[in-house]
């Protein structure tokens, strides 16, 4: 990963614009930009949170990183190389991808779901199998019990664990997570957040994590990038996010609610 080290960042967005229907931005000037002029760096080993309301461009940004979408203008670099210069298949196999709906293959067993990318990469069957067992244990699922089952036999929390195991299976250096815990009940969510925090610290992956939940952002993030209307509004270390001076940051902090007075440093009075 010399290129990344040289570059100082594993993922970098430089003046990225994205318009829904593609093509040059001048073709239809009144078209709404889903991402506008986004510049952002993600350092190796950090967890960068993309925080924002629905429609703020978080998911679009994530898809620009694994080239499910290509920027209308500007460039996205992964490990120092433009995503458009990467072979998209190679690029995506270096990037684990977890989405809210999980997207487990309903016609595959859990074992085959988790072992998918290693199999696509041509690993031999015994190695894939060993890896599947290791990954299931890593996310707290007993391989003997879960490997032969189908996704519909699992609970939402268990499915999401499998989603994480699947994303980690080929040991990708980068992980993209799109509201992975968003559809879970609060207790399961809190449980998975805690486990994920420990896992992230242990594995040292570069993670980009999308959420609209400030609490989750504060808990899991190294840094938090706030998006609004497709624009990057603020980037702060997670510890300093609550004191961010930007109006949009304050809005989010206020949304934490009166019940969190202990967490909330009353940003109104802190205004210099």
């Amino acid at each position: 990963m010399e290129t990344a080290a040289e570059h100082g960042s594993v993922i970098e967005c430089r003046g990225v614009w994205y318009h829904a229907d593609g093509g040059p931005p001048r073709a239809q000037p009144q078209r709404r930009a889903l991402v506008s002029d986004l510049s952002l760096q993600v350092q190796g080993g950090e967890t960068l949170i993309l925080l924002g309301r629905s429609g703020s461009g978080k998911t679009t940004t994530l898809k620009l990183i694994n080239r499910l979408l290509e920027p209308t203008s500007g460039e996205v670099l992964v490990e120092g190389r433009r995503t458009t210069d990467w072979d998209p298949i190679c690029l995506r196999r270096r990037i684990g991808y977890v989405i809210q709906e999980v997207g487990l293959f309903p016609h595959f067993t859990i074992a085959r779901n988790v072992g998918l990318v290693p199999s696509l990469e041509g690993w031999e069957a015994p190695r894939v199998q060993a890896r599947v067992q290791e990954m299931l244990r890593l996310v707290g699922l007993d391989p003997g019990q879960f490997a032969p089952r189908r996704p519909h036999e699992l609970s939402g929390g268990q499915r999401q664990r499998v989603g994480v195991a699947r994303a980690l299976a080929a040991d990708p250096p980068i992980l993209l997570m799109d509201e992975p815990f968003g559809a879970l009940d609060p207790v399961t969510r809190a449980e998975l957040q805690q486990e994920f925090r420990q896992l992230a610290a242990r594995l040292g992956k570069t993670i980009v994590f999308v959420t609209h939940d400030v609490r989750e952002a504060l808990l899991l993030g190294t840094r938090i990038a706030l998006l609004a209307g497709g624009k990057l509004v603020a980037v702060h270390p997670a510890k300093e996010f609550l004191r961010g001076p930007e109006a949009e940051v304050k809005e989010f902090v206020r949304a934490l609610g009166a019940g969190d007075a202990a967490l909330d440093p009353k940003p109104e009075t802190e205004n210099p």
Partner: protein, 210 residues
């Protein structure tokens, strides 16, 4: 003399016409299944093709089958009197349900699943073969079943352009104003349709068993 006596007395001919009938349908399906499935897949990949191909298949479906057989006779290469023309007509008729179901089946695959597959670095071919087609298989097979059953019925008209099959008895019976002869064609044709439906339904359940 009732229709069953007629069937039993002429069993050799009935058997031969039934076989002809089956062969007509089988040969048409051998063409229509791969063509329909491929076109259905093409529709999921190219939006621009959708209205053209579905439109064309719909128009073909609205042409009365007897007229379609007639129209094809003067067409060079595929036309003429005989079973080749009949097979082309049956194939055209069978296409719509297969195309439509293949398209609907693949388009109906959970978007999150297809997106996860792409996001994990599956090639388009792998997404299609390992994810979309297996998940759409039940719907695709249902389309093939409908197309086959329709073909068994439509194939009775093939006799009108000299392609043989059980339609021979039906047309002959109509000309002779003889219900027994009509039934001698209609009953085996109905049985064939039911058998095709039941056996393909069984295959469908076997192949999509979870």
């Amino acid at each position: 003399m009732n229709a069953f006596d007629f069937l039993i007395r002429n069993r050799a001919e009935v058997l031969q016409l039934t076989l002809e009938h089956l062969l007509l349908v089988a040969r048409a399906m051998v063409l229509a299944i791969p063509l329909g499935v491929l076109l259905g897949i093409a529709l999921t990949r190219h939006k621009a093709l959708r209205q053209w191909i579905l439109g064309a298949a719909n128009v073909i479906q609205t042409v009365p089958s007897l007229a379609l057989f007639g129209f094809l006779i003067p067409v060079p290469l595929i036309g003429g009197i005989g079973d080749r023309t009949a097979i082309v007509a049956l194939t055209l008729y069978a296409l719509l349900p297969i195309i439509r179901n293949t398209f609907a089946g693949i388009a109906g695959v959970d978007r999150a699943v297809a997106e996860a597959a792409r996001g994990m670095g599956m090639t388009e071919g792998q997404v299609l073969r390992q994810v979309e087609i297996p998940l759409a298989l039940g719907v695709i097979l249902a389309g093939i079943r409908v197309a086959t059953v329709i073909s068994v019925g439509v194939a009775t008209i093939a006799a009108a352009i000299g392609a043989g099959g059980l339609g021979m008895y039906i047309f002959r019976g109509v000309a002779m104003v003889n219900n027994q002869v009509i039934l001698a064609g209609a009953i085996p044709a109905a049985i064939l349709a039911v058998l095709a439906d039941v056996s393909l339904g069984w295959a469908e359940r076997r192949l999509t068993a979870r």
